[in-house]
Amino acid sequence: MSYDAAIIGGGHNGLVCAAYLAKAGKKVVVLERRHVLGGAAVTEELYPGFKFSVASYVVSLFRPGIIRDLDLPAHGLELLPLETAFTPLQDDMGLCRWVDPERSRREIARFSVRDSEIYPEFGLTMTKMARFAKGVIDSPAPDPASLKPSELLELWRFSDELRNADPESLYMHLKLFTMSSVDFLDQWFESDVLKAPMSVSGIIGTYLGVRSPGTAYVLLHHYMGEIDGAFRSWGYSKGGTGGLSLACASAAEALGAKIRTEAPVDHVLLENGRARGVVLENGDEIRTKTVVSSCDPNLTFLSLVGEENLDADFVTAIKRYKLRGSSGKVNLAVDRLPRFPGRDGSAHLRGDIAIAPGIDYLEHAYDEAKYGDFSSRPYINVVIPSVIDPSLAPPGKHVVSCFVQYAPYHIKEGAEHWPAKREAFGDAVVETLAEYCPGFEESILYRQVLTPWDLEQQFGLTEGNIFQGELSLEQLLFQRPTAGWARYRTPIRNLWMCGSGTHPGGGIMGACGQLAASALLGSGEL
């Protein structure tokens, strides 16, 4: 069997890329190291009867066009929107933001009447701005340093959109690109309990604090769904995030792609500086016209290709690419729903729960991380998808997913010492939650703690970075992963990239896989 393309890694981007290539009539093989598909978007039954979205836990901005193109609902995809955003406090019933704007207004007004009224206006302004960001996600990033006609045309198209924007939006963009999320939110709001959970969207997966400059623009992501035809940007995938990956895999297979699990790639097969296929760890050679890596740039170039096969300058650029994971994951099976004081029922548990009681709390959490410790009182983003999707846990019982920041990969003892600190990290998370939800620790039946070290070992995410590289401005657009190589091509001919380390970056968007496939198909190499 000969293939047109081998795709390294069966994560959601690899699978989307494979499906698009297969749809264009190409012969494709996907090679996944693990026994399960999905990469970081994976569902596993870690404890009998409990299915966990082990790593990535919510779907954000998955491109609606991909759902339509690949007919994913026919392959089992169901996205269920997150309905609430709940910020518990220790001595109060906290703040819950609901789908109903009037209900949210009443909740916010408990802390600030002014904020409660400005909140929808903020949303409107962000929606206005997100219109431009959407265009950026849906097409490759134009390179302003290039004089190629196609790049200039793209730049012109982009600048044309900007020219049509009202000056206010342009100034606002400049603010978003340069300010910290807290500074930006301070210009709008006064209440800590509102600003804190909003500000964290600027730091997810980065080794920065909410007061670090440049973190503001990620706030836009939260409003992009509104203009996307996706409406309500954050959602669960039925069956966990692995459900989405399996739908992509099923679509790819139906289009003729071959998918192999437990097929770890050892290295890319190079002949005369060209990629000619891959060599598996068991020594098998698979010869193909092209190779597409969905692994992060570090793994792709420094391990699968090898420094010796690349220009020194390029290697330096890849080594400069910031990965430095800053978060961990704690997955819990519980025998009952958590009870937060002042809140009955489960309506407030149908979305995400943010342990982010104030800006200073978040900044303190970052302080510890800056000097190589995990946060003793971290920011935790909790979701309980079994409240909405009963297929994930036995009746009455639940799976609790905790995204935890900060857990820096580079702890001061050295990353390899993480296993010795793993349980202490898990304890800090459970103790923190119990401070907001008394008795929570007694409901726990099973606990899985994933440190950034574990994320690297299990998922091949270098330094445990969940986005295959920080989503900081200097690593986005035409500089992702590095200047000159933001169009899915690599310096090795016939070797391409399609992972989150490419434009437009991380999150379960599928855009990297889709754009890579379209670039590859347009290149004439296949």
Binding site: E102, R103, R105, R106, D115, S116, E117, I118, E121, L124
Partner: protein, 396 residues
């Protein structure tokens, strides 16, 4: 999920239709029994009692309250006499309307403002340097609107107020038995009518007192559907229907100035600076692009159109607010009808519209889109001055 108003125990017991709307986060009755028409006729022939608690209410206290509110409002409310109410709108710096409502002067240094939307953040933006306190009293106060020719007699029975002496757009403190409250000679129906303001904890007792007094005067509890018809007849604009607050518009074209909403009469330009003054002055000088007008949709043409399909004319059963395009006679698009209703009193098919100024002269014949048997047509609509219905008792 809406919340109940302080009158909810009473209104929900009466609401046999089980039809509710979300009005600014409160449960609000659409109509109580079979349809809204009896309630509409109560507004015009006896009295209809409507829970208007969801209106936002703000109490502004302090020595600088007059100058503070004059700075924000289209009118010079510093000149408003104690015991008087005035209708105003307020604008942004570009002179585009943010909201409309009433300002009452309860005491020399005490005003009450009502609005359709939450306005605290807007007021707070200008409070610096003024010696005032602003309280959002929306939940602390319950409000009822009693509209119709019998409303005076009913409230004279239910309260101790001397309503014969209470002029149009005046207000007075009063007592309902032992309960303190306020009555203002205001409303949103264009008829004789009053609004009653009481503390939330007294709401049920006052509701009972008004309903009890009303029994002898054919009072009916009324809902929003009846109000919608009455306010179209009265030619009143509605925020979120006939225009959009400048705070909610993604595009400039959606915003409206007071002049474009037929609210130019609420703007007093020659006075101390107020928000939007310069922009409004410029617009007054250069002229407005659009006007807010009444349209009467030609009945005979409508009838002929439906007859051509073998159908009787189909009338909207209640007021509509879904927007219809308006064309000049040469088929050029010149604006939109934003709401409308069949007037049971005038026997006319009415619409409120925002159209290009050069077509706004009363008597101008335009075309409105009408759908008959799933096909789009146009029918003549003639520009009329507002209000459509203006009975002498409104000001009596």
């Amino acid at each position: 999920m809406p919340i109940p108003s302080p009158f909810h125990s009473r209104t929900s017991a009466l609401c046999h239709s089980m039809l509710w709307k979300d009005w600014a986060g409160y449960y609000a009755v659409r109509y109580y029994a079979d349809c809204h028409e009896p309630e509409y006729f109560a507004f015009r022939h006896s009295a209809g009692l409507l829970d208007v608690t969801p209106l936002f209410k703000y109490e502004v206290h302090g020595p600088d309250a007059p100058s503070f509110l004059a700075r924000i409002m289209s009118r010079n409310v510093a000149k408003l006499k104690v015991g008087r109410v005035t209708y105003v709108c307020w604008c942004d710096d570009q002179g585009k309307v943010i909201d409309d409502g009433t300002v009452s002067r309860l005491e020399k240094h005490y005003y009450r403002v009502t609005s359709a939307e939450p306005s605290m953040h807007w007021f707070e933006r200008f409070r610096r340097g003024y010696d005032i306190q602003i309280e959002d009293s929306t939940t602390r106060l319950g409000a009822l609107s009693l509209q119709g020719p019998s409303s005076r007699a009913i409230l004279e029975d239910a309260s101790d107020a001397d309503l014969g002496a209470l002029e149009f757009f005046a207000l007075t403190p009063c007592r309902f038995g032992h309960i303190d409250g306020w009555i203002s000679r205001t409303g949103y129906t264009g008829d004789l009518g009053y609004e009653v303001w009481v503390r939330s904890e007294d709401a049920e007792a006052v509701y009972d007192a008004v309903m009890e007094a009303g029994r002898l005067h054919a009072i009916l509890p009324a809902g929003l559907d009846a109000l919608d018809v009455a306010r179209v007849e009265a030619g009143f604009v509605m925020n979120g229907v006939d225009y959009f607050s400048a705070h909610h518009c993604l595009i400039e074209d959606r915003k409206s100035s007071p002049y474009e909403l037929n609210l130019g009469w609420t703007v007093k330009l020659d006075r101390a600076p107020f928000v939007g003054q310069e922009a409004l002055r410029r617009e007054l000088e250069s002229g407005s692009d659009r006007r807010f007008v009444g349209l009467v949709i030609d009945w005979d043409e409508t009838e002929r159109l439906f007859n051509s399909y073998g159908l009787p004319p189909e009338l909207p059963l209640s007021a509509w607010r879904d927007g219809r395009p308006i064309y000049a006679r040469d088929r050029q698009w010149i604006g939109m009808a934003t709401s409308g209703a069949w007037s049971p009193t005038l026997k006319q098919n009415l619409a409120l519209a925002q159209i290009r100024s050069e077509f706004a002269e009363p008597g101008t014949r335009l075309q409105i889109e009408v759908t008959a048997e799933y096909r789009r047509h146009t029918v003549t609509a003639t520009v009329a001055s507002l209000p459509f219905f203006d009975p002498p008792r409104k000001r009596a």
